[in-house]
């Protein structure tokens, strides 16, 4: 009644009168409970005077019997949410609570109510409460003293945090406030299993840390506590202390830390030198870093000494001698400590490197073994990388500049060392040195380039050579002149040198040159030098008549591809590349495809499948990042070349014969293969580039894909068709062309000599449509599902399902701007898996395997989380699939079952007998991948309940003895892991 205004609260109180004044505390409690419930529902409607009286009443009731108190608190909570509470009342309520109620003797829920009242008041009456001064703080300290429940603690911690951050007066109670909170440190709390409140240990740790690290006033109490807890045996306590220390450093200054620095340092040092745990070590280093940063940041008054200096001196004193010990026992921990300190500020960096760098350089010359030198150089590298972080070096200050000569000589010495490991570190150091502006003098720079050339070309070990190329690639944009002037000509010379011993060595040297040329092309000016060299080399190889030159061409194409990828970031560079490379490749291919070329042998290698396949990514990568205007210019040339034989834009455009790839005729077979290059180009264009004569092009491609006898050409034409269809704007034109395609596919699928071609075309078109969620896609998929039952085309169709799911490397992927919806695999899965299962059950014995194979391809490519929820339904089918002889099916089934074993052990344990038998028999499969997957499944079986497994233990252990002696190391590795885990099953100490 009160809510809709028909009753006033006063009337209610009067009506309850007898109840509220009853002598039986239980009855009184009931009365107040009712009143409080009403108030909780309608506190927002109360008048100011009503509130006043209610507050006085409730305050008075606080002295009442303990049975009544919970309801009283509820009522006060309702009142604390009133907006019309007159000034002064909040203070008086709190005072009453502080005085009359012994909070910690209440139940958890009632304590929670008290905290809520306080929080409400703090939210709305901040000024009034501050008027209470330190009494408020003291009152609250008494309230929360001894709190044990994590739910209440979270609220209480929040209140304390607000008290501190909103600057309530702490008065003389700083220590008390600290005591009442720090007694929970470090938090040791494990949420009970199936805890409905969802409070994690982490929540408590973080909220407590927020308090402890919120004010410098706690420093004198907190830091000793942290030091003590760092010495704890509990790793969690250590980590918590260290993290809290790190957090404190953000607000502390030098004054707070001053007296504790020596003991902090000794604790940190001890932990880093002795710890077994990487986590503790990392936290120690972070804490040291924070300490140094804090000291470097502090503003100094004129009469105080700079603590940073003395602190760093301490560190240096304790660490430097470890760097010099001949046995190098504690070098790494020392170096890490020094680096953590040096990373804190530029000042600390100078201070430390001034001492350490000369020391390390000296040590390098003292130690002669390359493994020791490697360690020293790695430490040196750590310091150099820190310098990188500070960016520009100031001329007068940097120690590094003073030591330039010796640093360089050490690094160069490492580069010539026979040890590969040392070389690798040297190369990394070189990269860092190069990135420090102004560090390397021009003469040194030339030396650097020479070293890199030598390592890239002549070093036996491929790791070093690879690393040198990478280094060259990352330094080249910084010093383009040196690299294009020195490295590119050297590499060109090497490429052109015709050596007598055209043996294996020469071959691999050439390949390295090609790779190095590609690696170093990371700057536009260098690209302009290297691309002509690469193309020149390609022409040379084409003219040669050696047998191996197809492989050489592939290598050149790979290098060109890499350059193309590096060009994509820069528009100008990209256009240059496109303009230079694409016409040149087309011209060379055309030349080779001319039927009556003068030399019948010459250049035919260029038309081999693998060479064309290697050219595809080059053209594709050169096209994808073109700007729309430039792409439009280029596309008109290329399309008219293929449709009309228009060759005028090619660099050498005098061909003996016309280019008509879409015409019939025996002698044009080789011209048709160049459709691959057309595909690479048109399928990589950005969406918004219109393709001229697209309709005609599509019809020609369609005809080509259905008629030609060469599988390479038909497949490529089908892919090109699919690539264009995928990007084609929806509408009538698209529907027409698709109808046309269907009219060609259906009759040829039904019978005749072209069934395979028709299937290939169908697969690619289906893929193109499924990717863009085109409505026709599901119709085509059904057609494919039907073909699974075909004895002739069934197996090929089953394999085709993998084509639908896998991302193809050259067309129809995101990189070439295809229209790919993100969830298409999941959608395909939910749409088609039931049909596959149904088809499987209805199929004859000779084609059942096709359905299983199709299904396994789909399952293999769907994200595992999706699978795990769906798989139980498919479980019986999967168990049947394990007996299938096809190893693709076996493998994908095993891969599906393995996560299921880990995540749904209860369901799986029903089938344990079948699983054990099948898995064990598959461990002797002839295919390595199946053996490995089977062993992983046997391993995963151990996550089933032990009681289920124990009957099989002896059998499994016996059976796993055989794969321990497998001929493949990777199989043995899995066998060892699985068998070890089975041994531990049910034995003590697992």
């Amino acid at each position: 009644g009160v809510k809709d205004g028909s009753w006033t609260v006063l009337q209610l109180v009067e009506a309850l009168g007898s109840c509220l004044e009853n002598t039986d505390p239980w009855m009184r409690g009931r009365g107040i409970q009712l009143l409080s419930q009403v108030l909780l529902q309608c506190y927002s409607l109360l008048q100011e005077t009503e509130v006043l009286h209610l507050v006085l009443f409730y305050e008075n009731r606080l002295q009442d019997h303990h049975l009544v108190i919970p309801s009283v608190l509820q009522g006060l909570r309702a009142l604390s949410m009133c907006e019309v509470l007159s000034p002064g009342l909040a203070v008086s309520v709190l005072k009453a609570i502080f005085q009359e109620v012994h909070v910690q003797s209440l139940l958890q829920l009632d304590r929670y109510t008290v905290y809520t009242i306080i929080t409400n008041f703090m939210g709305t009456r901040e000024e009034e409460l501050k008027g209470l001064g330190a009494d408020f703080t003291f009152g609250f300290i008494q309230v929360m003293d001894g709190e044990k429940d994590p739910r209440n603690l979270l609220v209480a911690f929040q209140i304390v945090r607000d008290i501190i951050t909103k600057k309530y007066a702490l008065g003389p109670f700083v220590e008390e406030l600290f005591e009442v909170t720090s007694c929970y440190f470090p938090i040791d709390f494990t949420p009970p299993p199936s805890d409905p409140h969802g409070i994690q240990r982490e929540d408590l740790i973080l909220s407590l840390r927020a308090i402890l690290a919120s004010t410098p006033q706690f420093a004198e109490f907190l830091v000793p506590l942290l030091i003590e807890k760092m010495d704890s045996d509990l790793q969690s306590a250590k980590i918590d202390s260290l993290q809290t220390l790190t957090a404190c450093c953000a607000v502390y200054g030098q004054k707070e830390l001053q007296e504790f620095l020596p003991s902090l340092w000794s604790s940190l040092r001890r932990e880093v030198f002795q710890t077994a745990s990487e986590k503790v070590e990392a936290e120690c280093l972070a804490a040291l870093h924070a300490l140094c940063a804090c000291l470097s940041r502090s503003v100094l008054s004129p009469d105080t000494e700079d603590l940073l200096d003395s602190f760093l001196n301490n560190i240096l004193q304790d660490c430097r001698h470890h760097l010099c010990e001949p046995d190098m026992k504690l070098v790494w921990p020392s170096a890490k400590l020094l680096q953590a300190a040096a990373g804190a500020s530029l000042r600390a960096y100078h201070r430390i490197t001034l001492v350490v760098l000369p020391l390390l350089l000296e040590q390098y010359t003292k130690h002669l073994q390359s493994s020791q030198r490697r360690t020293i150089l790695e430490m040196l590298l750590g310091f150099l990388e820190l310098q990188q972080k500070w960016g520009h070096m100031e001329e007068d200050e940097s120690t590094l500049l003073l030591l330039q000569a010796s640093v360089c000589s050490v690094v160069f010495a490492a580069l010539t060392d026979p040890s590969v490991q040392l070389q690798l570190v040297g190369i990394r150091a070189l990269t860092v040195l190069g990135s420090l502006q102004g560090f390397l003098s021009p003469s040194n720079l030339e030396l650097v380039v020479d070293h890199l050339i030598r390592l890239a070309l002549c070093e036996e070990d491929s790791q070093s050579s690879e690393a040198a190329m990478e280094a060259a690639g990352s330094l080249a944009p910084l010093y383009p002149k040196v690299f294009s002037g020195r490295m590119v000509p050297r590499l060109e010379d090497e490429l052109q040198s015709e050596r007598e011993e055209s043996s294996h060595d020469h071959c691999s040297l050439q390949q390295r040159c090609l790779r190095a040329l590609a690696a170093v092309s990371t700057h536009t000016s260098i690209v302009m030098e290297t691309v002509p060299v690469l193309l020149q080399h390609l022409r040379k190889v084409q003219k040669g008549s050696e047998v191996g030159n197809a492989q050489d061409m592939v290598c050149v194409c790979q290098s060109l591809h890499r350059v193309a990828l590096q060009c994509q970031k820069d528009e100008e560079c990209c256009w240059y590349y496109h303009q230079t490379v694409v016409p040149c490749l087309l011209a060379m291919a055309l030349q080779a495809a001319m039927p009556e070329s003068t030399n019948p042998l010459m250049g035919k290698a260029l038309l081999e499948e693998k060479v064309l396949a290697a050219m595809v990514p080059v053209i594709s990568a050169a096209t994808t990042h073109l700007s729309p205007e430039l792409a439009a210019e280029s596309v008109s040339h290329v399309v008219s070349l293929f449709l009309d034989g228009e060759v005028s834009f090619l660099p050498q455009n005098s061909f003996p014969c016309s280019f008509q790839p879409f015409e019939d005729g025996e002698c044009l077979e080789s011209q048709r293969r160049l459709v691959a290059l057309l595909m690479a180009f048109v399928c990589s264009l950005p969406h918004n580039v219109a393709i001229p004569q697209q309709d005609r092009l599509l019809r020609e491609l369609l005809a080509l894909s259905c008629s030609c006898s060469c599988p390479f050409t038909t497949t490529t034409a089908a892919k090109c068709f699919a690539g264009l269809v995928n990007k084609h704007l929806a509408g009538q034109q698209l529907d027409e062309i698709l109808q046309l395609a269907m009219n060609r596919i259906e009759p040829s699928l039904a019978e005749g000599s072209c069934r395979t071609q028709a299937l290939t075309l169908l697969l690619w078109v289906t893929k193109a449509l499924v990717l863009r969620y085109h409505p026709l896609g599901s119709h085509l998929t059904d057609k494919l599902l039907g073909l699974l039952g075909d004895t002739e085309l069934g197996p090929a169709t089953a394999d085709g399902f993998s084509l639908l799911m896998v991302e193809s490397p050259d067309v129809l992927h995101k990189g070439c701007h295809a229209d790919v919806r993100i969830m298409f695999r999941q959608r395909f899965f939910t749409d088609n898996v039931p049909k596959l299962v149904q088809g499987f059950h209805g199929a004859g014995p000779d084609v059942k395997a096709n359905y299983l194979k199709g299904l396994s391809h789909v399952l293999n490519h769907v994200p595992k989380p999706v699978l795990v929820t769906e798989l139980p339904k498919l479980l019986s089918l999967l168990l049947e699939a394990l007996s299938c002889l096809d190893h693709v099916v076996q493998l994908s089934t095993l891969n599906c079952l393995q996560p299921l074993l880990l995540e749904a052990p209860q369901i799986m344990s029903l089938h344990v007998d079948t699983l054990v038998t099948k898995f064990l028999s598959l461990t002797s499969s002839p295919t390595m991948a199946v053996r490995i997957a089977a062993l992983r499944c046997v391993h995963a079986l151990t996550s089933l309940p032990t009681t289920v497994l124990l009957p099989y233990k002896a059998r499994v252990i016996r059976a796993l003895a055989k794969p321990l002696d497998d001929k493949k190391r990777l199989v043995r590795k899995e066998a060892v892991a699985a068998r070890g885990e089975w041994f531990l099953l049910g034995s003590p100490g697992r």
Binding site: T927, K968, R969, F983, P988, G989
Partner: protein
């Protein structure tokens, strides 16, 4: 439920061991992924052993935990690749291990763990020999003798307390 909780633990016998860098996972080569070819050994230390020797026990025992330290034996340099000898043709494996300190009381247990791990991880045909690196432990001979005695090893594994400790050493690091 919440509150400070200290816990007492006996101080470690060798609290400050020398720690070595781990050598990392062995990279998988293209050859190893080829189904047809058997993997011959490529460890430099056992390089001269005639093919088709292919076992690398150092790899198997690298991850055994030392009962006294929560580090792997490799990090403590208790087991080094150079001290592992395999002869695949003759089916023998010899492992030398180096206790962290000469009077390490855990030497027998470390040896036992290594031996058990090898028994579980190698084909039956291998003859195992696990012993202490000569001159690195005070009671070297006694320990070696115990480890070489098949019956003693078998008996030790009947002892459920001992088996528990060994299994703890062998279970993967958490």
């Amino acid at each position: 439920m919440v509150g400070p909780g200290p816990s007492g633990m006996a101080p470690l016998e060798n609290a400050n061991p020398l720690i070595y860098r781990r050598s990392g996972e062995r990279p998988v080569t293209a050859r190893e992924e080829d189904d047809e070819l058997p993997d011959s050994i490529d460890d430099r230390e056992i390089f001269d052993i005639s093919p088709p020797a292919f076992l690398n026990p150092a790899h198997l025992i690298r991850s055994i935990n030392d009962p006294e330290h929560p580090l792997t034996l490799e990090e403590l340099n208790v087991v080094e690749q150079v001290r592992v000898k395999v002869n695949d043709a003759e089916s023998t494996v010899a492992v030398e291990f180096t206790p962290t300190i000469p009077h390490c009381s855990m030497a027998t247990l470390i040896g036992l763990s290594i031996k058990v791990k090898l028994i579980r991880s190698l084909p039956d045909r291998f003859k195992l020999d696990v012993h202490i690196t000569p001159g690195t432990h005070v009671s070297e001979h006694a320990v070696n003798k115990q480890l070489a005695d098949k019956e003693r090893v078998a008996a030790a594994l009947e002892n459920s307390h001992l088996l528990e400790v060994v299994n703890q050493c062998l279970s993967a690091r958490s």
